[in-house]
């Protein structure tokens, strides 16, 4: 289908973009890679009056090393994240998850910030962002603020972003030397996750010293499998210990039911996939 008519503007600075967003009011939408927004527009599920294209703002793009964290610009594409050596060294989990997103065409256009701002519960980058304790840097008329990932995802497709705010960057604390794996379960390769598990572990002396586990599509927002994390810490990285911890994967989740999976099956998948994800992350 054809989107309803809209005005279009492509500012070159964040300040201009924020001002344009405020000026255009309620009906304005930011467009980044367009890989989620354009289908919505084409199906006329949304008809914004103005699209503010943030794809031409240089300061929003790229990956910086800021000591204890990586700062990833919002319009950095999935493809760039997959290829970036800093991400590989310090946030391997993010690369692992990004590798499973869609297909090369989509990964060349779709952006990291767009995926997070879109907040699709089946989106693959939310759980890693949550698991890695990332912080979201937001910029609005009143300036900049930083929100923890745990506070950013509010509900199904809903975030802490205010109407006049842009997501400008994501601060990902370095997880240098951590093992990581993203275990995605879907029916065909280009599809979204039915359930997926993001796991990162730090092993010291054969024992799991720290563990981070995030779940995709197990609730309206990405969730941390805190019971699993707690059960893992201090355990030897053995299949038995991992399996025992993974049995808690669905605790406290509230997955939806759809044609691909009912609630019970999603909960079962969460346990199986968590075990697999941690096993792969620990390399046992």
């Amino acid at each position: 289908m054809i989107p309803a008519a809209f005005d279009y503007t492509a500012p070159s600075t964040v300040d201009d973009a924020v001002r344009a967003l405020a000026d255009a009011g309620e009906e304005a939408k930011v467009i980044a890679g367009g890989q989620s927004l354009i289908p919505v527009l084409r199906m006329r599920l949304a008809a914004p009056s103005t699209l503010i294209d943030i794809g031409r703002i240089p300061e929003l793009r790229g990956i910086r090393d800021e000591g204890d964290a990586l700062v990833i610009g919002a319009t950095t594409t999935h493809y760039e994240i997959q290829r970036d050596p800093l991400v590989r060294s310090h946030a391997l989990l993010l690369k692992a998850a990004t590798d499973t997103v869609a297909d090369p065409q989509v990964r060349h256009r779709g952006t990291f910030g767009g995926a997070i701002a879109h907040a699709d519960p089946a989106g693959d980058l939310l759980a890693p962002v949550l698991a890695l304790d990332a912080e979201l840097v937001l910029h609005g008329l009143e300036g900049r603020r930083t929100v923890a990932a745990a506070d950013f995802f509010v509900d199904y497709f809903t975030t802490a972003l205010r109407q006049d705010e842009l997501l400008v960057a994501v601060r990902v604390p370095k997880h240098t030397g951590w093992g990581a794996h993203y275990e995605k379960f879907n029916r065909v390769a280009q599809a979204w996750s039915i359930v997926a598990v993001a796991a990162a572990v730090r092993i010291a002396d054969g024992v799991i010293a720290e563990a981070r586990v995030g779940l995709t599509n197990m609730s309206a927002v990405p969730v941390r499998a805190t019971a699993v994390e707690a059960a893992l810490v201090g355990q030897p990285a053995t299949p038995e210990a991992i399996k025992a911890a993974a049995a808690h994967a669905a605790d406290g989740t509230s997955p939806t039911a759809d044609g691909n999976a009912d609630t019970a099956y999603r909960e079962h998948l969460a346990r199986v996939l968590t075990s697999r994800a941690i096993t792969a992350a620990t390399g046992v």
Binding site: M1, I2, A4, A5, K29, S36, L37, P39, V40, R42, M43, R44, L45, A46, P48, H118, D120, P121, A122, G123, Y156, F157, F185, R187, V188, A189, Q190, A191, W192, S193, I194, N217, T256, A257, D258, G259, N260, A261, D262, Y265, H268, L269, V272, L273
Partner: protein, 811 residues
């Protein structure tokens, strides 16, 4: 010496049409434009069953760029009723089928109004300004419920949801014995109910139609498989004189039966263009296509197979409910009936009964989809043969062999009365088993089962045949089909020695231009490159019955050969005159007429030039070599093959991964092995997709919940295994070239091979069926003792693109 010329038939030529089709730099209907073109957009019903109590189009009429808005009422008379060419029984019930709904909608997606605007975007914008009041009627979704007493009715005026009841009984037909007796006397009975889920053809190029009424003839360009049938049907439906219509199918990007249709949009485009006197175009979006273009399959099959303990099959009873959807489209009622002759497949059933009830529901109409009736039949019988083998503790291939027609028993008249001309099931099966490593895989399966591996190996077999090359006209007549099954062709010799082949077949990706050129190059002895194949335009190829049912090579190319023979016959007379000899003294090889026993020769291209000049022709000979012919086949052709599939089933998640797929097909003589390979691969992909991925799902209100490609899961190359394909070659005797047909073989054969493999992998958990598509949840649920059809209707969206409509999106 000419004798050393390598024959074109059999050569693995790259296709002539590939460059333009693959790059898309060609004339698709949507690429075309004409001066003053207006655009159409259709408003579609969001509800499955309702009375339209009011439509207000005034606001839409006032929208920018809008030229006109029409409702079903406005066009009621002009649009007529969409044609159904196949009344399967004399008392078949059918409702009127308006292109734009008049007063009542009967499926979600049915068109209720059309906007005509200067721009496509303007037309779409105006749709939102149309206000329709719907008064809901009860939806009719479930086949079994639809035929129960007191069921809610789709079309109350018909008094029933049953459109027709069609029966074939071998005892009544005198082609076999009584199935009830066979069942009564059976030592073993296998009784099953299978569901052939609803599928969506999902061709790559969306449907598109452009109508230009400004010339003396009105020209209709359409992304259709059937330009010839469309011309006639548009004339009959709208009352436009047939000779005032020209239909062109430019390059068409796939159809799979989905464009074997006379669509509401084609009729409306013609009616609106005629009424306004202006050219109009419509091209659908993908979601419009998934929702409103006809669907395929959708049957509930109750099956009873009778056998002796020694494994000999003694009878087969088939009771079908076939979902027509809300209306009968072009061949809707005939699709399940085509399957009637295929349930017995390659086996020697002495007794057979087939009963089919065609049922109306409040869903998108069904119609032909690759295989049309035959995949459903093949899937059922091949599943049953595996179940019988399991019941008897026999190897499924060995059990099949016990029951199939042996190669020395051909020609063989089946329990349905069809005569299978040739076949060699032993040869194809032996080759397939060898390539597959059947015995080794069985050994591995035993080992892994004993070990309790969490990933279980399953092996599935499908030894299929199909009837293709639709069709002998007399057979179609006996099945009450509204047309014949012949095909037409013409061969034109141009003065410069080039050749134009005109064919009534209408390629939409098959590669006819290449294949026909190869055939004619051999026949006339002219270079492959010197042949141009013209098709898909009722002006340049005035007669034809188009392309479907694997008919083009077996029927269409035969007409080409017949026309070529006439060219040679005419040229021989003139060549004899030119060389001053008797016609009988000439032999024609490699493009030359040679006087027997001499070196004296004249090329057919020289004859063509002489004919063009016409200075010196024999008395009474017309100055033309051009010839045409119409070919009507005597029989179907019966390709067959053995497909073997190995799957790894992850018992912890239910995920199925195809590990190995081997198929040995016998499609008779092969004109171009690359084209055959391509047809097999594409066919396999679609057959596998039915087994594992695709299903059109409606929720309890009748809304299609798989309305985007994010929910209607079409596998891509990554999801598909490597295919090990090979062939045996048993020439058909029913045509001159010995060819069979290959367009539908892969689709027909592969579905049961995969499902058999999945069930085989988990049979030891007590599973004897899993409904298609075998989704991970279904497989996992079945392993864990649950139902075989887990999943299906989603109540809530689970995220991802497909769910954005329920969430309000990112808005």
């Amino acid at each position: 010496m000419t004798a050393t010329v390598e024959p074109e038939v059999g050569k693995a030529r790259l296709r002539k049409e590939d460059a333009r089709l693959i790059t898309g730099r060609t004339r698709w209907t949507d690429n075309l434009t004409v001066p003053g073109l207006l655009h159409l957009a259709f408003l579609r019903s969001p509800v499955a069953h309702a009375r339209i109590t009011a439509i207000d189009v005034e606001a839409a009429r006032r929208k920018p760029g809008v030229i006109a808005v029409f409702t079903g009422r406005d066009l009621a008379e002009a649009q007529g009723s969409l044609p159904c060419a196949w009344p399967v029984t004399a008392d078949q019930k059918a409702p009127p089928a308006p292109s734009l709904a008049v007063d009542q909608v009967n499926f979600a997606g049915e068109a209720v109004a059309v906007v005509v605007a200067r721009g496509k975007a303007q037309a779409h914008d105006a749709l939102e300004a149309i206000d329709v009041d719907y008064e809901d009627l009860p939806v009719v979704l479930d086949l079994a419920a639809a035929v129960a007493d007191g069921a809610d009715l789709v079309h109350p005026d018909l008094g029933t949801n049953k459109s027709a009841h069609w029966v074939f009984d071998s005892a009544e037909a005198g082609t076999g014995s009584d199935v009830e007796q066979a069942i009564a006397e059976a030592e073993v009975l296998v009784e099953r109910t299978y569901r052939q889920q609803r599928l969506i053809p999902a061709f790559m190029e969306p449907r598109s139609v452009l109508v230009d009424p400004t010339g003396e003839q009105t020209t209709v360009w359409s992304a259709t498989q059937i330009p010839h049938i469309l011309r006639l049907m548009l004339a009959l439906t709208t009352g436009t004189p047939e000779h005032k219509l020209r239909v062109i199918a430019p390059d068409v990007g796939g159809g799979f039966g989905g464009k074997l249709q006379v669509t509401p949009e084609e009729v409306v485009a013609l009616v609106v263009a005629t009424r306004l006197g202006k050219p109009v175009k419509w091209t659908e979006s993908r979601s419009e296509s998934l929702l409103s273009a006809h669907h395929g399959r959708d049957q509930l099959q109750k099956l009873t197979l009778a056998a002796r303990r020694d494994g000999t099959v003694t009878g087969l009873k088939v009771e079908l409910l076939a979902d027509m959807g809300a209306y009968l489209r072009l061949v809707t009622p005939g699709v399940p009936i085509l399957g009637a002759f295929m349930f017995n497949a390659i086996y020697k059933f002495p007794a057979y009964r087939f009963e089919c009830t065609n049922v109306f529901t409040t869903k998108t109409p069904t119609d032909a989809y690759r295989g049309a009736g035959r995949p459903e039949a093949t899937c059922a019988i091949e599943r049953l043969m595996d179940e019988l083998a399991a019941e008897l503790g026999r190897d499924p291939i060995e059990l099949r062999e016990q029951n199939w027609i042996k190669h020395d028993e051909f020609p063989f008249t089946t329990v349905c009365g069809l005569e299978y001309d040739t076949g060699n099931y032993e040869a194809a099966t032996a080759k397939a088993k060898e390539m597959f490593g059947y015995d080794q895989l069985r050994a591995e399966q035993r080992e892994r089962r004993e070990r309790g591996d969490t990933v279980q190996l399953g092996i599935g077999t499908s030894t299929f045949t199909e009837m293709c090359g639709l069709a002998p006209s007399r057979v179609l007549g006996s099945l009450s089909y509204g047309a014949g099954g012949w095909e037409h062709a013409a061969v034109r010799m141009l003065p410069s020695g080039k050749v134009e082949v005109v064919t009534g077949s209408s390629a939409h990706g098959q590669g006819h231009e290449t294949a026909w050129s190869q055939i004619v190059a051999d026949q006339l002895g002219v270079p492959f490159e010197d042949i141009e194949v013209l098709h898909g335009d009722t002006q340049s190829s005035p007669r034809g019955l188009d392309t479907y049912g694997s008919r083009s090579l077996t029927v269409g190319a035969m007409a080409v050969l017949k026309a070529g023979e006439k060219v040679i016959r005419k040229a021989r007379r003139i060549a004899a005159h030119m060389m001053e000899c008797a016609e009988d003294d000439l032999e024609f090889t490699a493009g030359k007429f040679t006087v027997k026993g001499t070196e004296r020769a004249t090329a057919i291209t020289d004859v063509a030039l002489a004919v063009f000049a016409a200075h010196d022709l024999p008395d009474g000979v017309e100055p033309s070599l051009d010839s045409e012919a119409t070919f009507d086949p005597d029989n179907f052709s019966f390709p067959h093959g053995t497909h073997l599939c190995a799957v790894d089933v992850d018992t912890e998640t239910g995920f199925v991964k195809i590990r190995k797929y081997v198929c040995v097909d016998d499609v008779g003589v092969v004109v171009n092995p690359i084209i055959v390979e391509g047809q097999v691969h594409g066919g396999l992909a679609q057959g596998l997709a039915q087994a594992l991925y695709e299903e059109a799902v409606h929720d309890e209100s009748g809304t299609l919940t798989t309305g985007t490609l994010a929910d209607y899961l079409i596998p891509s190359a990554v999801d598909l295994p490597h295919f090990d394909t090979d062939r045996t070659e048993t020439p058909a005797t029913s045509n001159q070239l010995g060819v069979k047909g290959v367009g539908e073989a892969g689709t027909i054969a592969s579905t049961p091979a995969v499902v058999n493999a999945v069930v085989d992998a988990v049979r030891h958990f007590g599973v004897n069926d899993i409904q298609m598509p075998c989704t991970p949840m279904r497989v996992w649920t079945a392993i864990n003792g649950g139902p075989t059809d887990a999943g299906g209707l989603g109540t809530e969206a689970g995220g991802g693109l497909g769910s954005i409509d329920t969430s309000g999106g990112a808005a």
